[in-house]
Assembly symmetry: D2
Homo-oligomer: 365 residues x 4
């Protein structure tokens, strides 16, 4: 059963294979009357594009987005917004040699097991390139949220074993995140991360890390218990990103080791408003937003593409064999996951803003 | 927007408040012709019931399930299965005194912020008691899965800072999990866990931990990329359980610190079948099951109810105040989360078995 | 795949077999803070109950509704409202003799073909009794709509070939519909309908008819093109009622014989408001409400249960045979369909009021 | 809330405005391994294209479909199939003059009331051109069904008051439907229809009619009571087509005037199979297919665009005014609705074939 749609009141459907004709997304649920241009989308797409530094793979995805529907004279219509990015600069030849040899850690094998017929070129539908549609849709979600005073920020908090020790201020994240190839807001840590990533890369190996995303300014009351809790849907959305193997809300796994008296955020008054003194809960209690910043972190496994030799099976001959990938790959995917994770968080929050009746579904105001 | 339903082809809708008339669930998507009795359900319900040991709260939920529809002469009809458990032995008086004073770490405040009108007795809809419906439905899912050779097991792998050091065999988990109040399959660790939990409890405090669940025998090919990936839906389902603050698949956060050459599970042949030599991926690649055991772990925060005094706000008078809960509470909720987490994993897997066309939706075979 | 839920933002799930333990419904999406009592539901349930006149079957369904959740101290909580009606006064013995002989025109055969295992007592899940859940949920929808100034009315406009010639005023419908066993608002026509129905009944035969439902006071702008158009969803909802074989919006089939100049409703101003001079469109254009009364009619086939002998097949022996039903049946089902059709129209409109952001999903105001 | 998706297991999302950049559809749920080419789609698209005869509007929609994803080397991948048709040969100038004057019988007014901001060019999203996506997706559904031995046929059974008197054989429909501009399978009736349509057209007026669609070879057991009954979903799908104001299943409204003894189709044995002697029910009982041909008819209102002067309101000045449309319009839309209605029936049936487990969702066999 097809699973290419996410969202309930505000929803997106992505489509496209990495080396197919094009890749894209249809965004449903944007009200009429919001200004929207291709430049709004392009800005975010440029952030996810590879080839921006030596830390990323060299494919020069130009990723020119084209809005095909849902916008008229610079304003949304309340109808589906269809966006398309042609796949250019694709070289599928390296994949011919390994088309029956699934790369360990990749989805090659599972797609083959599920579908029996696969577009093996560049990972096909399972490629990182699929996130083009997510990021394009996320740009719209971010714009909708910004109009409600909600901002989404994110950065790499750990890579190749080097971690940011403490929570950074939003101001610091805004200022530094695009200033370094690791997209880590602590520039000192970023430098050490980069060194560790390159060291592994020099050995033909890859590294993983952790990415943090936050939503600032989200109102209390978002989330639909008992199954469509805000944290449950954030977990769903973030775990659906390739390479993500864990999702943590607020203090996450650390809470498992705390006592209740440490874990419970005291409820206090600040300027006449009920708030929490701390935010171990990451802005969500009982699956509903508290009004505090919403904080989520994800564990990103090392890029599965490495140049070290690896054991696999030739499915055509059903024989064990070895595979040695050529070419250059992202030695660490965290910096490129940052905008994708932001997009997913934005999509879930926008959806819940509609579900909670906080944005008019027909007319943008 | 209501979020009380989970699943697509196989789905459940739970309802009920902790101190209301009753609590229950409607299960949709069970094919006709499967034998099903109240005893099948009761067995699992008894596992989640509190009051089983000094580690759990003393409410004597008798939890007698009644099947109201969908079963005729001991067999399912392919129609909705409605199940009901009356709420008996409820004492709401302790909640009168604190009805305008939200308990820190609980959903009291967020329900109040969202709905403006709340059943404050015993946590209402946000109470752990809501899981009665999940576990009842999970019993049906487990039965459906068992007929396909799929087994769901789980146990507590960490509590109050005491952790099981290594992965235990399924045989050991089956044998030991119900033999100790921590539901930890390593009996030595279980003893130490219990001591640590009781030590905190003696100080009026609570503790958290980690629970692991596994699905054994699941076929490859389950999961619907790119959004309804198997791991994304497992994350959704597990994160929707109260007190869960992180979901980890396979090696989880450890993968963030590995290199690709360690993280990638080598693909090999075993008795003519393509399998993986290790299972860091937790049985899921690209959001699709590999055929290896599916492994997920969740971080459980300490029970928010503690008897230590805590700071909160009296919402009726909008003044800061202190709250001191009386009575006895679960000092550690992990053992009771085990059957709930198993139920959620069972529900997601059953759903995906239907979606992938591996169980006939109309007739049980 | 289970199809027992209808609605998107406001949705209901019905369950239960005619001669099973109970029958019921879970209503999701009602905001918190609306007053609701069992009496609100009972009033509508009493309207659908059989045994009210010689025109209906004699089963004395007492149909006492019990609200099990979602209401606290007389007000809704924003959580699922579960309602239950026990099945009492059921005599399943007449069905034993015919359990392998599907009744022509009934769903007996198709349930058997689909599921292979069927509750043959009283039609099981396919019985008219299933509408108890619809009507109970519809009572809540009507209450939600009434608070928005929207009223749902309906009556029988044709039965046994006797038709109401012209459109009756809402006032007349309100006044007369419950005053006669045909639930036809034209009392003269009602008398002739009744005579014609009884004439057929005397011959052991049944008759069909047409039922009209209207929504008054619905705002413009309801409906979600291009698939979830208001008329498309009304058609879905009304066609899902047993025995309904056609759904007509506004002038319906008559429009097929008109010219455009007759069919197009002129757009005019009335007291500064844009309205239509006529309402051939039945209040819906392009799948969106115009602000005019929403008008739908349904064709109801004759009750399939007749006492005349009929040809069927004994499925146990795979031999052709004859069936002769005993007992008394509704000779005309139209009067009992009126409250059900009203309920379905109310459910769809309430759902669209939420979807269009016209009712707050969390808090009733 | 967006309503641009239809289907559950097999689903489509259409997008695009009549005079926007392009129009298209994303099809989800097609299994991997089915051969599919643009020619398969183009064939059906050519049938819906206007400008094929003097009976249709002269816009020369070339409608070249491009498959952008989901197909690799001539076979489907099990991933979303995105299809696009560029809008060429559009002249928006005639719409400038009437952009604040809603055309009676059109969706102009309701889109304006709902969204407040509208693409007024050529009807925007509400235009007949939106059906390009439906027909393209329907071509895929038809191909899936054909592999299961299911055929979808349709023709015009009434236009401008001229009706086909009896049910025509499938052979005759296949043979004649594309041989005449009315797409009526009775060529004599077709000639008279055409004359009547042209007579009205000469007076600047338009006409309506009835279209019939049938599914042949559908297995018994399709349909998901109690809300997702096969007839309920067919009604939904067909009513969602612009200009359709009634949906009739089987004998439709005639059943309302029959007695039970006439309406009930006798159940008999034919070559060892349980079938019905007649098919008044149109192949559906209790919302589930019987195995007999599935028959639906729709009432199509006259094309709202007429050249006769009509009363409307200038929304910019809030003054009553008159509108006189120029140019040529389809004087009767029935022939162009035939392929659209076929597409919608095909989509619903394909969806139910998946839901009932009768087509493997992952691999085409």
């Amino acid at each position: 059963m097809s699973g290419n749609t996410i969202g309930k009141a505000f929803k997106i459907t992505t489509w496209g294979e990495s080396h197919g004709t094009a890749i894209g997304v249809v965004v449903n649920g944007v009200p009429a009357g919001m200004s929207l241009s291709e430049a709004d989308i392009q800005r975010e797409l440029n952030r996810r594009r590879p080839g921006q530094s030596i830390l990323a793979s060299p494919r020069k995805e130009r990723d020119r987005v084209e809005i095909l529907s849902g916008v008229f004279q610079g304003k949304t219509l309340g109808t589906p917004i269809s966006m398309l990015v042609r796949n250019v600069d694709v070289d599928s030849t390296p994949y011919e040699a390994i088309k029956t040899k699934p790369r360990p850690g990749h989805a090659d094998l599972t797609y083959w097991l599920k579908f029996g017929y696969v577009d093996y070129r560049g990972g096909g539908r399972s490629a990182a390139r699929e996130t083009v549609g997510r990021v394009a849709a996320g740009a719209i979600a971010k714009k909708l949220l910004a109009a409600q005073g909600i901002e989404i920020i994110g950065h790499t908090v750990e890579a190749a074993g080097i971690a940011v020790g403490r929570e950074l201020s939003p101001a610091k994240i805004r200022k530094n995140v695009e200033r370094n190839p690791m997209r880590c807001a602590d520039l000192n840590v970023a430098r050490r991360m980069k060194a560790a990533v390159l060291e592994a890369a020099a050995e033909g190996d890859s590294t993983g890390g952790m990415v943090e995303v936050r939503a600032l300014g989200a109102p209390p009351g978002l989330g639909d218990p008992v199954f469509d809790k805000l944290d449950a849907e954030i977990a769903h959305a973030l775990m659906s990103i390739g390479s993500v193997k864990a999702v943590l809300i607020g203090a996450g796994c650390k809470l498992a080791r705390m006592r209740g008296s440490e874990a419970n955020d005291p409820i206090i008054l600040r300027r006449g408003k009920v708030v929490m003194e701390t935010n171990q809960a990451g802005g969500i209690l009982g699956g509903i937003s508290t009004g505090m910043p919403i904080v989520a972190r994800i564990a990103v496994k090392p890029t599965p593409s490495i140049t070290k030799p690896q054991r696999t099976v030739d499915l055509a001959r059903m024989k064990e064999t070895e595979i040695k990938l050529k070419g250059r790959f992202d030695p660490n995917i965290c910096p490129r996951i940052v905008p994708v994770a932001e997009a997913m968080l934005a999509l879930i929050l926008a959806d819940h803003m509609f579900r909670a009746g906080k944005i008019n579904p027909d007319r943008f105001k």
